[in-house]
């Protein structure tokens, strides 16, 4: 698949501060999550690939073209900035419509598209109120509406779920998941890990301006073989279970949970252990209350990679 | 054993006391932020230029014999009396530099807080509206007094030191009071003026232009009306003229314009009252959005 966004040795510094450090990345059609803590370089990367900043070194291209000072490319690109900033004196509808007219649509088409976009983000009932009277979540939804109203092929969303309530987040997550139909691309950033997990399994981990890892969340996890997988079992007789598990050759380490009811153990062969566990419980009459894998999520992957 | 640096939460047995001057952190922060602006320190330093010239004048006045060749015919100019101090306080350049300092230090005092919705942050602390407004006003007081009261008292002190006697104070015992009164008048008027304009907009750039333009405009308006009708009472339209009129009266000098100085004081008081009224409306603890 041809990459939509290509960056090669992309670096950007602000005075003496290194914002982005030698990032080489190819982003293909579909949804890609850019994940990192605050100050990791996510917004810097987004601004570079959306043409708002020039790289200090390296290069970036979108749809095979340079993006800095290349206005025609923005017919195919939609950007939702992180900042909560608007032309406050207009209504939500006027704002989206005005920006669509700047996009090149006629007044009538801009009006239709604005209505559709605002319907999509559930802002149609408030479209005629001034933006300064909107709540934070409403403003965020208008921002998202302006970014996708012109049906771009590439959508770049910088922290799009900021300020949204849980229902709003679910709606936008669903919208983002539906967007990449017919070969379109979404690049979405967040520092809230469950949000990224809910949208995509393809992630790029960024920290202190560097790419730590990229790919499928599970693939990344598998790569980290040095770090054993943690499994937690809550049962009625943890000590007996511990005695049984200690004899298994794939168990690397074992300890008891603070609650006294849990056995927490580490293994390098997660799949093998998971396949054997049910037989162990049944054969030994262990009544299991729960089995969890505390680090089988993005948080633990990230924590491990950033060295926490 | 390693030194324990973080001892975590401690239970504190002391009595919780409120800050005696709750406006002080607002003022301190405002002054600190002003000095962080590029070129502001240079502007403040440049504003002291007249003070240095007047100080040189005081020195020359005590050494008139040595400088006679330079100041021939200017002996009356170098007579150090209340008129000398009035000249400094009402000099066009000093008033203009005060305006420039207010443009830097005062334009964003309330405008920036309104723009960034910081009023809620202020009023979610035990801070009353008057503490907030006084704190902001005190930033202006600081800069105005730094350019009026401080140089005024230094000039007086240096005159006493150079002359080696208290003759000036014996002759004009009310002179220090005049310096204080004029400085306070300027501080209150400029604080009212600056905060009034700063509260009118969330755009600092617009307020910057307003501070400069209204001052200049009032003077131009006076010039236009006086030039046409030759009536000195039009001086009441000019902020600068009113300050100069009141200043001259405070120093016991003949006023530059032929109308009662009390009228100037009334106009300046009116400006302060309007400022208080507008600030009470504009600075709200709760933002009502329609």
């Amino acid at each position: 698949m041809t990459a939509v966004i290509c960056t090669k040795s992309l670096s950007r510094w602000y005075g003496n501060v290194l914002g982005l450090n030698d990032v080489s990345l190819d982003i293909e059609p579909g949804i890609t999550g850019l994940l990192g803590p605050n100050g990791a370089g996510k917004s810097t990367f987004m601004k570079l690939v959306s043409g708002q900043m020039k790289p200090s070194s390296g290069r970036t291209s979108v749809f095979g073209e340079r993006v800095w000072n290349n206005p025609p490319i923005f017919r195919r690109l939609g950007f939702c900035p992180e900042q909560d900033a608007f032309h406050e004196g207009v209504t939500g509808w006027e704002f989206v419509k005005g920006l669509l007219e700047l996009q090149g649509f006629s007044s009538r088409e801009a009006a239709d598209r604005a209505v559709r976009a605002l319907e999509f983000v559930e802002m149609i009932s408030d479209k005629d109120r001034r933006i300064r009277s909107y709540s934070r979540g409403m403003r965020q939804r208008v921002k998202i509406a302006q970014s996708l109203a012109h049906d771009p092929d590439l959508l770049i969303l910088d922290e799009p779920l900021n300020g949204l309530d849980p229902l709003g987040k679910r709606k936008i997550i669903r919208l983002i998941k539906d967007f990449p139909k017919a070969g379109r691309t979404v690049l979405v950033s967040s520092h809230v890990l469950p949000e990224i997990e809910a949208m995509t399994s393809r992630i790029v981990l960024i920290h202190q301006g560097r790419i730590l890892a990229e790919g499928d969340i599970h693939y990344i996890r598998d790569l980290i073989e040095a770090h054993p997988h943690v499994i937690s079992v809550e049962c009625s007789d943890p000590r007996r279970l511990a005695g049984i598990l200690v004899r298994e050759e794939d168990i690397a380490r074992l300890q008891f949970g603070a609650d006294g009811r849990t056995v927490v153990f580490e293994t390098h062969a997660r799949d093998k252990v998971f396949s054997r566990l049910p037989r162990l419980f049944v054969e030994n009459g262990i009544a299991v209350e729960s089995i969890t894998s505390p680090d089988d999520n993005l948080q633990s992957v990230f924590d491990y990679l950033v060295g926490k | 054993m390693a030194t324990v640096r973080d001892k975590g939460y401690h239970h504190w047995d002391g009595r919780l006391e409120e800050l005696r001057f709750p406006w002080w952190p607002v003022t301190r922060n405002g002054i600190r932020l002003s000095f962080q602006r590029k070129y502001f320190k240079f502007l403040v330093a440049f504003s002291y230029l007249p003070a240095f010239f007047f100080l040189a004048g005081i020195y020359i006045s005590e050494r008139l014999e040595d400088f006679r060749f330079m100041v021939r015919g200017s002996e009356t100019f170098l007579a150090i009396d209340p008129k000398y101090f009035n000249t400094y306080f009402t000099a066009d350049f000093v008033l203009f530099m005060l305006i420039m300092i207010l443009v830097f230090a005062g334009a964003g005092l309330i405008a920036d807080d309104m723009k960034h919705n910081a009023l809620q942050l202020y009023f979610s602390r035990p801070l009353r509206k008057r503490d907030y407004l006084f704190g902001k006003a005190a930033v202006v007081f600081f800069f105005v007094l730094a350019l009026t009261f401080v140089p005024g008292m230094i000039l007086l002190f240096m005159k006493l030191v150079f002359s080696g006697s208290f003759a000036l104070l014996v002759q004009y015992p009310w002179l220090p009071l005049s310096i204080v009164a004029c400085s306070v008048l300027y501080a209150v008027v400029f604080a009212s003026y600056t905060l009034l304009l700063s509260a009118l907009s969330r755009n600092r750039r617009y307020v910057t232009i307003l501070i400069f333009a209204v001052y200049l405009f009032s003077d131009i308006l006076f010039g236009i009306f006086y030039g046409t009708f030759r009536n000195p009472h039009f001086g009441l339209l000019s902020l600068k003229a009113n300050l100069q009129q009141a200043g001259a009266a405070i120093f016991g000098q003949s006023t530059p314009f032929a109308f009662p100085w009390l009228l100037s004081l009334l106009v300046l008081a009116g400006l302060c009252i309007v400022a208080v009224a507008v600030l009470s409306r504009r600075v709200r603890e709760v933002e009502i959005v329609r």
Partner: protein, 257 residues
């Protein structure tokens, strides 16, 4: 670029007209008209004073105060308001040429300023000169004054747009230029005066400096010919707009976060 210009022009003209500041500036700009009514009521029979008041006082007010204030605010706003308001991304992530953005916004703000000023000038001019000049004379003189103010708006707005694109603290420099440089230079002899925009505007005014007596507006003026003044003002407008477009095209604007 023409498409960009048109769409940016329309959008920002709408925003500018709606802004409360436009009403405040309109109020300020109408003060000369109010003054004109006051003066005219005060001088019903002394027509010489009437003409003198208009040309020596009110036009000074327009030329050396209002024009500069309006152009300074709107010219610096072209770029600064997008950076301060953090809305620049909405423009730079659209298929709009950067030159078109600058030209479109500048034109929108210049048009608004021009409309405000010309309406005010019309009222004050006709109040002051009604019954004194023939219709043809009045129209011609008004058009000349209007043309001078239009050229002034264009030149000052272009210059302040360039300042706003280039510098962060453009307003302070603009104030120093508008009320310092432009005022002081008129006292300099010879060709020095030609380094100010005000010189060319005054040279185009529809009256000559008084042989005797004092004229505030044309004090120490050594006028340049009409043709040269026109060319100079158009050149100033064109050059500073071109420079603004060039700088905006290549400069990065990073919001203070």
């Amino acid at each position: 670029m023409i498409r960009t210009f048109r769409s940016v022009f329309g959008f920002y003209l709408m925003l500018a007209v709606r802004a409360p500041r436009a009403r405040a500036f309109a109020l300020l700009t109408f003060l000369p008209a109010v003054l004109a009514v006051v003066f005219r009521l005060s001088f019903p029979a002394r027509s010489v004073e009437v003409l003198g008041v208009f040309s020596d006082i009110l036009v000074v007010f327009y030329l050396q105060f209002l024009l500069i204030i309006l152009a300074l605010f709107y010219g610096t706003s072209v770029c600064s308001e997008e950076i301060e308001g953090k809305t620049l991304a909405y423009l730079t992530t659209r298929p709009l040429s950067k030159s078109g953005i600058i030209l479109g916004k500048t034109a929108a703000y210049a048009l608004l300023s021009a409309a405000i000023v010309l309406i005010s000038l019309a009222v004050s001019f006709f109040v002051m000169n009604a019954g004194r000049l023939s219709a043809g004379e009045a129209a011609g003189t008004y058009l000349r004054y209007g043309g001078v103010l239009l050229l002034g708006i264009a030149a000052y707005t272009a210059f302040f747009t360039f300042l706003g694109v280039l510098l962060r603290k453009a307003v302070i420099i603009g104030l120093a230029f508008g009320f310092g440089w432009e005022s002081i230079l008129q006292y300099f002899p010879g060709s020095t005066q030609r380094f100010s925009i005000a010189h060319y505007l005054k040279s185009l005014l529809p009256f000559t400096p008084k042989a005797q007596g004092f004229s505030l507006l044309t004090f120490r003026l050594e006028p340049t010919s009409d043709a040269m003044s026109l060319v100079a003002l158009v050149l100033i407008t064109g050059v500073f707009l071109a420079l603004a477009c060039l700088v905006f095209r290549f400069k990065e604007y990073i919001s203070e976060e």
